[in-house]
């Protein structure tokens, strides 16, 4: 099938961003390639960047496969993407500020109230509370796919705590160590400023009660058993901030404090990598051992900032996703630069009927699912699998949405036989604080199995370094 857009080769010719990579590949003998691949793996294992998948057996210290063939964007391509991503991040934050305030977009009839207020991720506890700078989602991860030279679609938004940014940074480090010549031959924009930008973003949303010139920022992790612990500790280290667990923090008076060897130290901004439900047993799940009792009261009375804000998840819900273009128009008065993938809600009878009739051509996902689990890729499934899924949808239609199977673009990748095109997606990380920032790059995930469209690492996906060329 050649209906897929190949980002390197178009109609037999190498596209300009990849011009210098052709020679690089041609001149690399198979032995050297294997050597480099082994070297890369050893480096990854040595720094300990491994990935544990929840609910799967096997090695908890498994590596995500790293594909050395980079993915490249020209400066012009990125310019447009950047505008689209920032626009979307602004709209999502405006939406959150609105639904926790007067809910104008709902009053205006542009989004159904029940979809928002009865959403699992909507938190009554923060209604009427205005976070510093009115920012709710400080790190917006937007998953994009490409189907043609100028066609990008947003697959989903991640407004809570999108993970994977450590791969973006480490992939680049490793490529620079292994192929320094590539970096002198190509003018590749650096991504290494990300941790510093993240720290500045978080510091810029310090609470009103914080009088320190340098706010004390910490990262809150569920602990070292968490699959993303490596990323938490990596970011803390790169940002020069403490990595804390719930047990390291306590509430006293109007503030949150951390336990140090010198006594309690006030905490101003918490970049939390734990879910809302576990943040504070006094406010959410009473059985949470991961959180900090009383944290939400301190947050709501302006003693500490929590990033992302509790309740931010209501903006990245798969059912709310459909309305993001509407948010862009409503809040920003602009036309969306990035398109949504057309989506059918199985919760609606007529749309569900369409889905049932076209299961073989569609991708069906659970509304709250993630990690590529519980999803059906119609064209890649057997009749039996489709029928089994049909029963699941019938049993609980509200829980499913469907999208057309997109012709995901491909990028050449190193495979057993040499180099072959493999499908990719892209997750850039947009930072929202006093300013909106986006480092030129992101995490490219690649479906390493031939023909596969599922890029999730839990389903045999790998990662690539993502280049944005300077003009």
């Amino acid at each position: 099938m050649s209906t897929y857009f190949n980002e390197m080769i178009e109609r037999g010719a190498v596209r300009p961003p990849y011009a210098r990579l052709q020679g690089w590949v041609d001149q690399m003998p198979a032995e050297l390639r294997n050597l480099k691949q082994a070297e890369a793996e050893a480096l990854f294992r040595r720094i300990g960047i491994t990935f544990a998948v929840y609910g799967e057996g096997g090695d908890p210290d498994r590596l995500i496969p790293f594909d050395m063939f980079p993915r490249v964007f020209s400066a012009q391509e990125w310019f447009r993407l950047e505008r689209g991503i920032k626009q979307r991040a602004r709209a999502l934050n405006a939406f959150l500020a609105d639904v926790y305030d007067r809910g104008e977009i709902i009053r205006a009839g542009r989004i159904p109230g029940r979809l928002v207020y009865l959403n699992e991720a909507y938190e009554k506890a923060v209604a009427g509370i205005r976070p510093p700078k009115n920012v709710y989602s400080h790190i917006v991860g937007i998953d994009l796919v490409r189907t043609g030279p100028d066609e990008f679609f947003v697959l989903e938004d991640n407004c809570r705590t999108p993970s994977g940014v450590s791969y973006m940074l480490e992939n680049r480090e490793i490529m620079m160590r292994m192929f320094p010549e590539l970096f002198s031959a190509n003018r590749i924009q650096p991504v290494e400023a990300y941790p510093e930008l993240l720290r500045r973003t978080l510091a810029s949303v310090a609470p009103e009660k914080c009088t320190a010139t340098e706010p004390n920022v910490v990262i809150l992790t569920p602990g070292h058993f968490n699959s993303a612990y490596y990323e938490h500790s990596f970011l803390a280290d790169m940002m020069g901030v403490e990595l804390v667990e719930g047990q390291d923090l306590f509430v006293e008076g109007e503030f949150v404090w951390m336990r140090t060897t010198e006594g309690p130290r006030k905490v101003d901004v918490i970049y939390r990598r734990i879910d809302d439900a576990f943040l504070d047993p006094l406010c959410f799940r009473p059985d949470s051992m991961l959180g900090v009792p009383g944290l939400m009261d301190v947050y709501r009375s302006g003693g500490v900032s929590i990033c992302s804000a509790p309740g931010a998840g209501v903006a990245d819900d798969k059912a709310v996703y459909t309305f993001v273009p509407e948010m862009v128009r409503f809040y920003l008065g602009e036309e969306p630069i990035l398109q949504n993938v057309p989506t059918w809600q199985c919760a609606k009878a007529d749309e569900c009927q369409y889905v049932m009739e076209n299961l073989a051509d569609l991708v069906v996902k659970e509304v709250h699912g993630s990690g590529g689990y519980g999803m059906l890729v119609g064209p890649k499934s057997t009749k039996e699998q489709i029928e089994a899924f049909r029963h699941k949808i019938e049993a609980d239609p509200d829980n499913y949405i469907a999208q057309p199977t997109l012709a995901l673009s491909t990028v050449p990748s190193f495979v057993e036989e040499g180099v072959a095109p493999r499908h990719v997606d892209l997750r850039p990380y947009c930072l929202v604080g006093e300013r909106i920032e986006l480092v030129p790059g992101g995490l490219t995930r690649v479906a390493l199995r031939e023909g596969s469209l599922v890029v999730n690492s839990s389903q045999g996906g790998g990662v690539k370094d993502t280049w944005v060329l300077a003009e």
């Binding site: 809910g103 207020y117 009554k124 506890a125 009427g128 109007e254 406010c283 009261d297 709501r300 009375s301």
Partner: protein, 268 residues
């Protein structure tokens, strides 16, 4: 009616704890139903934390106590003038829209019996439905202190056929939501029961959203709507969310709690 309240909650720990953190919903709602003259909350050895008004209009005040400590007393005293608004909550400033109160939580999750009960009400109006449901629940769950505990769900109380005001409120909330009426749990104080005897504990009831009227209180336990005998403190999805005091202690000790509530009408 001018009501005087004294409400003392004492926590004791069998071994000293490292520290205590509490979140209080202990201030009378700022609304037309009640006017607060004097209100004072103290926590022994307590440090006041932040204070704010939440999306339902409740004033939340945080407290903490630095350990080691083995006994904490929370004392509430105050005077409020109440007026009968026929159960309608008037003038409360809230940002959460009524539709958000249609969600269910664990204690208000309906089972088959609750669904059956909810389906029995036939009134064509929302207000009529709410009254009918309140009466049905009062009939189905007899008031008997000690029959249930703090963790009993609406479904369990209905199956048992007995319970206290918390169970009545949970059951009414579950049934109202089943009939697509937003409903919530309210905690507060009550001067005298329906038989005129002083009520010697904290009280709880339910509020149901009636389009055109607003939030209307229903107290199935006393087969009435809240009037001037009621003082409203705050609300939530269920008893846990609406609790006047939520708190936790750090340390291995086990906690015991004693509550004393007295509500009296003061001389005019």
């Amino acid at each position: 009616m001018r009501l005087f309240v004294e409400h003392v909650t004492t926590y004791t720990y069998d071994q000293p704890v490292r520290g205590v953190v509490q979140s209080h919903r202990l201030l009378p709602t700022q609304c037309q139903n009640q006017l607060t003259h004097r209100w004072n909350v103290t926590v022994s050895d307590g440090m006041p934390g932040g204070s704010f008004r939440d999306g339902a209009g409740d004033t939340i005040q945080a407290w903490s106590v630095r350990g080691p400590v083995d006994r904490i007393e929370v004392r509430v005293t105050g005077e409020v003038t109440t007026t009968d608004q026929a159960g309608v909550l008037r003038g409360n400033r809230e940002i959460i829209p009524p539709v958000a109160w249609l969600d269910e939580t664990l204690p208000t999750r309906p089972d088959a019996a609750l669904k059956e009960l909810a389906a029995k009400a036939e009134s064509p109006t929302a207000l009529g439905l709410a009254h009918e449901l309140s009466a049905l629940i009062a009939g189905a769950i007899a008031y008997r202190p000690g029959a249930t505990d703090a963790h009993t769900t609406a479904a369990e109380a209905l199956a048992l056929g007995e319970g206290v005001c918390q169970d009545h409120a949970h059951a009414l909330i579950a049934c109202a939501r089943l009939r697509d009426l937003p409903a919530r749990y309210v905690s507060g104080y009550l001067f005298t029961d329906s038989d005129g005897k002083p009520h010697e504990a904290a009280h709880a009831w339910a509020e149901v959203w009636i389009e055109g009227l607003g939030w209307v209180g229903f107290d199935p336990a006393n087969a009435c709507c809240p009037d001037e005998r009621y003082i409203r403190l705050g609300c939530g999805m269920d008893a846990t969310h609406a609790a006047p005091i939520r708190g936790t202690a750090r340390g291995p000790g086990s906690e015991s709690m004693e509550i004393a509530v007295a509500v009296a009408a003061t001389q005019q």
